[in-house]
Symmetry: C2
């Protein structure tokens, strides 16, 4: 659970949803659902990868997984299609005020982002600093440049301020990140595409 | 388990891997792994979507899923990136000799294929008829045309013979389906891209 700057402990019962937003994953799921419902883009969060080791079949139709383990993801969590472009990103939030720890991103995911860029995909990170309650889109290229130029174990908040683009928090969709993609591909964001 | 045409029950212990191949999913996983290792394409099978209802934490680091249920997929199983194109497909095998039952594909997946085509993705089905031991790539457009023109509950094998492209079974990669994509996008298949 993430509380915005200034929300004190005793106020937690009385969360101000207007300013707060839910967790980043919820915000992105709602955003992607909106984009799908408006026929704008088809971007999904991939299911959590697990290793299933035991399944029960109490009836012919129903299977219950009785034992399974979380696996390390080999790709980023989100991918999909927008205006013919392959879209691929990882989303993370951090409570740390001054930097985004790179331990949040698995080595496989970094490799996946490198590969995606090299093969013509639009790849990026969406990072929320929960203390500031700010959400940034950092292009994969800038992320990789950072990794290749330093040996730091975290990306300073100031790097986001300088290089990344802040995604405003809106009513609908909550995190209109495709507006930023549009500027990159030179397209026009057709919000009312299907009159919807 | 799928046995090729002519393999009798008593022969099952002595499977001829050369002619048989493994199940379609294994063949595709190996194919996609080969494409990744050769830096040709980054196409993955999505994890199986599940609803987790109970998790144990016997230690700080380790989580064991103790109860979970399979969810109906809302997208196709495979997607990824090839030469800047968004690739999306569903793969199924059928033991039925004369037709591919449409009950194999969920309504959500059909909708997903329609959406993918409309937004400029390269979408298709890979269907294996295990009796004939033949694997076909059917373009999403031909699949959707079939659905929109008939009310049949299955696609006849003859429709595949006529409209789909057979994917040869090879040594490496096992199912070189990107060769077919190349013909569509007019590119040249760079098998030795990285000298690999």
């Amino acid at each position: 659970m993430n509380y915005p700057n200034g929300v004190k402990k005793q106020q937690k019962q009385n969360i101000n949803y207007k300013n707060r937003g839910m967790c980043l994953e919820d915000d992105l799921n709602e955003t992607n659902l909106y984009y799908r419902q408006q026929d704008i883009a088809y971007i999904y969060k991939k299911p959590t990868p697990i290793q299933i080791t035991k399944v029960d079949y109490p009836s012919r139709e129903k299977a219950i997984i009785k034992e399974a383990y979380f696996k390390e993801p080999s790709t980023t969590d989100y991918n999909g299609l927008y205006k013919g472009y392959y879209i691929d990103f990882e989303a993370k939030e951090t409570k740390i005020k001054t930097a985004f720890p790179l331990s949040n991103i698995h080595p496989h995911q970094i490799e996946h982002i490198r590969n995606g860029i090299r093969h013509g995909g639009i790849c990026f990170l969406i990072v929320r600093f929960t203390f500031q309650n700010e959400t940034y889109l950092l292009w994969g290229e800038d992320f990789i440049n950072f990794l290749d130029q330093t040996k730091r174990k975290s990306i300073p908040y100031t790097y986001f301020k300088e290089k990344a683009i802040e995604i405003p928090f809106m009513y609908q969709p909550r995190l209109p990140y495709l507006t930023i993609i549009d500027k990159r591909i030179g397209g026009h964001y057709e919000n009312e595409k299907n009159g919807g």
